[in-house]
Amino acid sequence: MKKKILSMLLATSMVAAALTGCGGGQTPAQAPADTTQTEAPATENKTEKVDADIEQAQAVAEDSGYVYEGTAPITQEAGKSIKILAETSNYTNVDIANAEIVKKVVADSGVAVDWQLVDYNNYQDTVTPMLSTGQADADIILLPDQDTNQVYIKSGLFQPLNQYFGSMPNFTKWLHDNPVMKAELTAEDGNIYYVPGTNVGKDYQPCLMYNVVWLEKAGMKAPETLDDFVALLQYYKDNDMNDNGDKNDEIPMSIMADFLPYMFGPAFGLDLVSGFQADADGNVTYAYADSENYKKYLEFLNGLYKDGLLEVEYTSLDRDKVIERISNDLTGVAYDFSWAMSMMYSNVLPYYDGTADKAFVGAAPLSGDSKGFYVGRVELGNMFAISTNAQDPELCAKFLDYAMSDACQELYQWGIEGESYQVNADGSREFTEKGKDNDWLQQFGINPSFVFPAQQSVASTDVLVADWHAKSNADLRQYVVDPWPFIYSTDAETDTINTYMTDIQTKVDESAAAFITGTRPMTEFDAYIGELDALHLPEVLEIRKQQYARYKKALNG
């Protein structure tokens, strides 16, 4: 009998354990509407429908008669709540849902928020499958990517926002004030689906940085041409720049492979960062297939490699190694995102004293046959959308609208007056002593782009970094050009691009390494161009041309 009971219990517990993973923790999502069948045809001027919908939009009064007009609260009905799926802060010691700024926005809005926060580092890997399988159980969702191919839109996962424009006065005003982003956000069916946060497009972009102490020792200014730059590297290589008695331990420049296109492409008139580029006449080309300029670019880098000015292990160099070298005063030139300048590189220099004279400081881009430039960033940042399964989409629209209001943006950028910042007699603002402590400020919830459509601000960033860094950024802004714009792809375009682009990118990446290191002779460059053509580059290029024409038409009307 005991044996019988034991075996039954064991079997039951094993079945229960095995089925634990099958538990439906979430209510199955309602089958999404198939919008691909009912799409409106693309209009000649894409934003026409958006403009018309904004024109006709009217605020809707609640049962109590309260009308939301862009300021808090968004509702006067008690007990309302919204579920938001977003990401945690990238600072591991920050509890973003309980940060003061975030709590204030939620409290002022008049609704409760049920946060579903996914780890910042795994957000895309976690949320993409959730969306793909229709299992995201939230009213407002932070997209894991920018949905450039309109996949989520066409899958019917999200509500078109046009129908709620009457409840979104802040958003519609922002669209009116930002016609470029309005055009970029307008989907193929003429609707807008996402409320975006924004990045600073032309400030604090990746740039060239020099060790000012080494420059002074060399008696040179920051080079502006490729020839002067090579001369400087050669000087670094030949001299004991760190005064340790060893002339052989200097590494003239420490550039990660991914940044070489940023650094040298512009000198040859190439935007290798975006890959595709359009000239003033709107002619679209693929920079990596430019038979003249890209060849010159590769020949130049091959020359640096042969002369020992571009290190042999450049393809496996990572940021940790660069920091290690800088902390040991072994290198004189770096290229990275601007924030690294004072926050990661200069501060590890053994002799950094907080001034630009003893730091890694940004400088103008290098010029060659073409005048140098830096490539800016697409301003559209994190995208927030309202799920088609949302219990009260109108309320969600109001919440997103309020979250992107000017009042909230001030909170995101400066925090709370008297706590994180103060207003001076002349009307200018500055962070308080507490606010100048970055850890404290992050825990306070500054720039909560992980959970709200926050807009980055140059002014509030300026006061966070060293003064000389802010000045350097202001100096460099003039060199920043727009990147390839954010353009939605159609289904057919997505299909073609996804089919061919991986092979093209693989060919480009491995050929660049081979030409630079000399394992493939430059005499084979024409063969390389032929190989790209064989990989269907002309078809992809044709699509990019059509997309760019569409973008220009939507932008200019």
Partner: protein, 320 residues
């Protein structure tokens, strides 16, 4: 004698009716139920999802979308087979696993034989634990160590080469070095742990047989050759066939962490390509990834099937 017993036993069971057999073994059968349910839910039911390889999975369509999405035939297979890199990917994947098998499979056997010959138990245990440890180091850390050790600027291996008057070698950027680095580091990391099962098999050999060989005057080499190796042969063959079952399944993360664009020629494998093409793209193309996964599984199954048949014919030992 043993064979006769088995025949006799089978003969007796055949005479018992099925109901009697079921009733007799009812507790064992009840305990099998969870196993059957587990395999049905987690192994066999997911196999129905292979239909994704033949359709265009619609993002956001949930579980039903696996079955309802538009049928595209062999589009994803054609796309994969039609890639200019198809041959290179298959070659690289196969060769990495092939060399891992050739180098990595015999080492644990030899190590197990050697370690069981150590007479002093404390030394034997120390050696075993020391060799198990690398297995528990995460792949990310191992790859970091490899990068540091092999760096041409300050890596310990190149420093040693320099002392011997040999110029630094840029190991991580030269395609010809990728396979040796992958195989040797993999063997180093896993040979200790993989030897456990062989050590257990050797320990299971009857001491009487050892004693008998010693009485007959056999030396250590003869004991190894005529007793130990034949005794663990079924274990070796079983593990060999199981290893062959993953000939086309290279560990993605290690290749991904070690490779760079300069060594794609020898390092780019099916898994890394699928990551770039299927999972890393926007939107993720799950159907493409499923198609390539199916292709891999079919090849792996074919290899196991052939290896099993060969093994049965040649050694009279087989999995089924």
């Amino acid at each position: 004698m043993a064979r006769n017993d088995k025949k006799k036993s089978a003969y007796v069971e055949k005479k018992l009716p099925l109901r009697t057999l079921i009733y007799r073994d009812r507790y064992l059968l009840i305990m099998m139920v969870p196993v059957i349910i587990f395999f049905a839910i987690f192994c066999y039911f997911p196999m129905t999802g292979l239909i994704m390889a033949f359709n265009r999975y619609k993002i956001g369509s949930g579980l039903l979308g696996v079955y309802n999405s538009p049928f595209v035939g062999t589009k994803w297979f054609s796309q994969f087979f039609g890639s200019v890199y198809f041959y290179r990917l298959v070659r690289n994947t196969f060769l990495l696993q092939f060399w891992s098998l050739i180098i990595g499979f015999p080492i644990p056997i030899l190590f197990a034989v050697a370690v069981t010959q150590i007479r002093r138990k404390p030394i034997q245990k120390t050696v075993q634990v020391t060799t198990y440890l690398p297995y528990f180091i995460s792949t990310v850390v191992v790859c970091g160590m490899i990068n540091n050790f092999l760096s041409p600027s300050g890596g310990i291996i190149n420093q040693m080469l320099n002392k011997l008057g040999i110029e630094s070698i840029n190991f991580m950027n030269l395609p010809q070095w990728f396979r040796p680095i992958y195989v040797i580091s993999g063997s180093w990391q896993s040979f200790g742990f993989n030897s456990i099962i062989f050590v257990a098999a050797i320990m299971g050999i009857s001491p009487d047989l050892h004693e008998a060989m010693r009485v007959d005057g056999a030396n250590r080499r003869q004991i190894i050759w005529h007793l130990i190796l034949p005794s663990i042969r079924p274990t070796i063959i079983l593990l060999l066939i199981m290893t062959l079952g993953s000939m086309m399944s290279v560990g993605f993360e290690k290749v991904y962490l070690l490779y760079n664009t300069a060594v794609y020629e020898t390092a780019d494998v099916i898994q890394t390509y699928v990551y770039r093409q299927g999972i890393g793209s926007s939107p993720p193309n799950y159907s493409f990834a499923t198609a390539v996964g199916l292709f891999n599984s079919v090849i792996n199954f074919a290899i196991v099937f052939v290896a099993n048949r060969i093994s049965r014919r040649v050694t009279d030992t087989a999995i089924w």
